[in-house]
């Protein structure tokens, strides 16, 4: 029952935003225009769409992030029970982390950590 508030809170968040938008649309003025509803680019005429293929610089960072975030998720239960597992648990996790650090060093040497 610790999680009983999750669903009501999610519903409330959506109700707050969409209900607010609805209520605001009843009161607020609405005068759409071709120029007003154009994409804002500091007064210049928009050239082309923004939905194009472009170099997402952090693709490699995303991959490394995935590895380290999953690692952190694995470390949480270990962190809770470290006093019970003692030195053996520490050594096993250190082996695990050292392998990941080797991966980080590899990515570093390969230049994956440079923003291009």
């Amino acid at each position: 029952m610790e999680y009983i508030f999750i669903i009501p809170v999610i519903l409330a968040a959506f109700l707050l935003v969409f209900g607010g938008l609805w209520a605001s649309s009843l009161i607020a003025p609405s005068n759409p225009g071709q120029v007003k509803n154009a994409t804002y680019e500091c007064g210049e005429k928009t050239i082309g769409n923004a939905w194009v293929q472009f170099n997402v610089g952090y693709y490699l960072f995303g991959l490394i992030f995935l590895v380290f975030d999953v690692e952190a998720a694995f470390l949480f239960p270990w962190a809770v029970v470290l006093r019970e597992t003692g030195i053996l648990g520490l050594i096993e996790v250190l082996v695990f982390v050292v392998i990941l650090i080797l991966g980080l060093i590899y990515a570093w040497r390969k230049g994956a950590l440079e923003w291009v």
């Binding site: 029952m1 209520a23 009161i27 994409t39 804002y40």
Partner: protein, 369 residues
Amino acid sequence: MSSGSNSLIQGVSLSQWVGGNAWTDTPWLAFAAVLGGTALTIGFMSLTAMVLVYAERKIAAHFQCRLGPMRVGWHGILQSIADSLKLFFKEDIVPTNTDHLLHALAPALCVMATLLALITIPLSPSISIANMNIGVLFLSAVSGLGVLGILLGGWSSNNKWSLLGAMRAGAQIISYEISMTLSILVVVLFAGSMKFSTIIESQATGWWIWRVPVVGFVAFFIFLISSTAEINRTPFDLAEGESELTAGFHTEYSGLRFAMFFLAEYINLFIASSLGAILFLGGWMPFHIGHFSTFNHLMDLIPPGIWFAMKVCGLIFLSMWIRWTFPRLRVDQLMRLEWKILLPIGLVNLAIAACLILSEYYFFVWNPL
């Protein structure tokens, strides 16, 4: 050591009360409690955001030798209310080229993530909505959802500024999440629990920032940097750098939709500060010094809620101070700071913390078993 604090720490969260006998004995009362708790959370969120926006404007003004808002109410104290009313009455401009559904969904996702994170924060032993046994993990998981709202908002706007801002925000938030988790893990290691109330109770004899020699402070420092980056505040506000990207991911947002992003941003500041206060500064625990029993009893007189508020306000002020002190980073510097400096330091710090626990080489050894 501190006999007075033991009587303080017993408290029941609202979800525990609902989950106890209330659900079977008085289902209507339990149902009303769930609704009331949700409504209270939303009310608390709105009030906190208003106070924080006013505080930020006032503090920023005084840092820059200005007066800030002065006209609405005494020293402009009603300025935030006037501003939210103004945003409510503003025209809701949605550009023709946007993806209309996702454009509306993005602020809702941001608000949802912050609300979910907010319910886990215990304000005092007797005021907490949901005291989960995996509280820390839950909080870091749901606060990571916020980046979805930012990415969606930036992409669906069909605007180059928004797209660039959203991409930068995505890269920044996922990168700094690792450092933040590693510094949180240090405290989880020492407290031996992921439950917020247990983490706070473990600091009855001293706060984790100074009880563990060096390690606690290094973890706090990493937490401070990475949480500032997580909530997109200066010096890490590349996602909305006004001088280069107009307003970043929320360039195409106006009226109430913009207000929702703004709300989520300030509540994230509150959540990050209270997380720092809970993990490193003892949450609602009073400040105690070893055997100075008179001093400790005096400190016990201040209610725990006030202690928590004071610590959170201190951290929020620190964050605002940082904002008006440091210049913005460049995006490659940002990435280098995380991956080549903070991440290695964080990993080494975690390993040292684990060794310290097993050797029990820290002040006032805490044994949760």
